[in-house]
Amino acid sequence: MNSASSGNQSSEFGVGPSVALGAAIAANLRADRALMSDTKLFAGQGSESDSTRSGCGKQDPVPELSVDLAGVRLQNPLIPASGCFGFGEEFLDFFDPNILGAAALKGTTREPREGNPTPRIAETPSGMINSIGLQNPGIDVVVAERLPALAKFYHQPVIMNVSGFSIDEYVECCEKADGLSEFIELNISCPNVHGGGMSFGASCAAASEVTREVRQVVKESKLFVKLSPNVTDVVEIAQGCVDAGADGLTLINTLLGMRIDVKRRCPVIAQSIGGFSGPAILPVALRMVYQVAQTLAVPIMGSGGIATAHDVVEMMMAGASAVQIGAESLRNPLVIPQILEQLPEVMAELGITNLQEIIGVAKQ
């Protein structure tokens, strides 16, 4: 990690790339990713995904884990959630990230951001609260350094998570990100920054406006909008985003929460209030995914409290085409490979041979 640091005062991430260099790298990355989606990404899956393995007649059907997400095929529905996977390198000690369905990267803004003061983390029974405040090196460094570093060891679809404080900022980031990753996820739901993030996700008008503006510049990547649970009517906002051109939605970002240190008589985290996630919020996430899926025919990435293979099935039955796993990967970096291993067993128990077929099947 130290190699990226230039020792300059302004940020951990060193100096940004020149514009020309940035553009060249962007072009290369586009080419790389296009190549990968033609070859590595989709090749070989056809044969594996035929419902029985070749050879002798009667065998148990091979469970089909691959799913379609807004026209992009994922080898499985398991995706580390934004902010819980860094830019990928931290997990290399634990597993080969190429087993993932896709990977969502840390929220990126136009300028580098130092984030909020510490402490930024608090614990709850069955979950955690964070107030990172979108610490990130800025879109130029992400494009010039982080994406190429990731591309060296990771060849599955990428979700770039974009945050902003103004529509202009969202647009500029998305313009730079477009085509460099299969998906762009618009984070209009971060509870940890003032005057940005969540304020766009809090009203239907603002959510659809930012989606509409960004849609103009997102031409190659699939555009997903990540919604906040901290609203009265999530369906209305979801509808606004879809009408404004979103290819899909991510539901949900963190709930608002807090803890108090009773000995010191003060909030545990420096910002007092933060984003609450982990298994405790699964029922809320399921409910919101379900509500939206009942009303809108739109691909959904289900996020919030996923911790087991059973949760994955539940979230998909609620209406998610894929699932994101956040907090659980922080406390157990092996959780995604473990879920991947357990999924076929859970599917077999439940009589599921193809995950794609259970999306949204939960009906009264």
């Binding site: 640091s5 230039s6 020792g7 302004s10 634990f94 984030g115 510490t118 930024r120 955690m128 964070n130």
Partner: protein, 294 residues
């Protein structure tokens, strides 16, 4: 490398007020340096608890923890034979910069935990560290015997004066400095010092910059008014700040923050340094004094 290990509790014993030794059996091959830490899953708690490696050898890991809240309290009730999920091999750990001959180790409170492994390491590397451990009161004193068993003497400071030097670790540092001044005027004592410090000549020139290739920005005093030429410290941040101010030489300081993951993925443990934002769990917990901004 870091990895998830299942380690079996072989001992969980109180050693001082609210302070316990937790001994675990299993794979320790991810540990490389003193000052590294592990992240222990405590049954019933969502996040892991970061605990410094007190000492380790192949197949055995010793941790030392202090009851602070619910998680560490629950740890006291973990019985022998229980398997704990431990993220091992975390953080950078302490190192011995070239040219250091007279290291001083300062631990405060539960910050003494990593100092046993550090003492072992410094002795193996051919130095004779001086050790100061500070506590609130005599009933909190821990790890002194274990470090003395390595053949080095430990100065204990207690705030209430119930054991050792009365006051803070910095009072003990000042006393050590005073002792040196008097010992230098006493030829016999001075000889002893020379032996302890691996034949290092106190009056000789010692470059204080350029350890391990990193330029030191410290205004370290080049005179020999201190009996140490490098300081290792772990403890509460106000203590570290005071030690740094008192040390007058470069050093390595182990920092602490609430952690989400412990392996660099969440950005929960950020520390602003002169070299930009660093993650305490990944680029730390040990930082050179030249990058610390107090």
């Amino acid at each position: 490398m870091s990895s998830v290990q299942l380690l079996r509790v072989s001992e969980n014993r109180q050693i001082a007020r609210d302070t316990y030794f937790l001994e675990l059996a299993g794979d320790t091959s991810d540990l490389r340096r003193p000052g590294q830490f592990v992240n222990v899953a405590v049954p019933g708690f969502y996040l892991r608890r970061p605990l410094s490696v007190c000492s380790w050898k192949p197949g055995q890991l010793t941790l030392m923890y202090k009851v602070l809240g619910g998680g560490t309290d629950a740890l006291t009730r973990i019985s022998i034979g229980t398997e704990l999920s431990v993220l091992s091999g975390l953080g950078n750990g302490f190192s011995l910069p070239s040219g250091v001959r007279r290291p001083l180790i300062v631990g405060g409170g539960i910050g003494v935990a990593p100092m046993l492994a550090l003492s072992e390491f410094l002795i193996e590397e051919g130095t004779a560290p001086r050790v100061i451990l500070g506590f609130g009161s005599a009933n909190e004193v821990a790890l002194v015997e274990e470090i003395e068993a390595l053949g080095i003497s430990v100065t204990v400071a207690t705030v209430d004066g119930s054991k050792g030097v009365q006051g803070l670790v910095t009072d003990a540092m000042a006393q050590l400095r005073g002792d040196l001044a008097s010992s230098l005027s006493d030829p016999e004592e001075a000889v002893t010092h020379e032996l302890i410090t691996d034949q290092q000549d106190f009056s000789g020139e010692l470059s204080l910059g350029g350890y391990d290739g990193e330029a030191s920005t410290d205004s370290a005093s080049q005179d020999n008014s201190t009996p140490w030429d490098f300081v290792y410290a772990c403890g509460p941040t106000p203590m570290l700040r005071a030690v740094f101010a008192c040390a007058q030489v470069p050093g390595q300081y182990s920092m602490e923050e609430r952690m989400g993951c412990g392996f660099g993925a969440c950005m929960g443990c950020t520390l602003p340094t002169a070299g930009g934002l660093k993650r305490i769990c990944k680029e730390g917990p040990v930082f050179g004094s030249e990058v610390l901004v107090w």
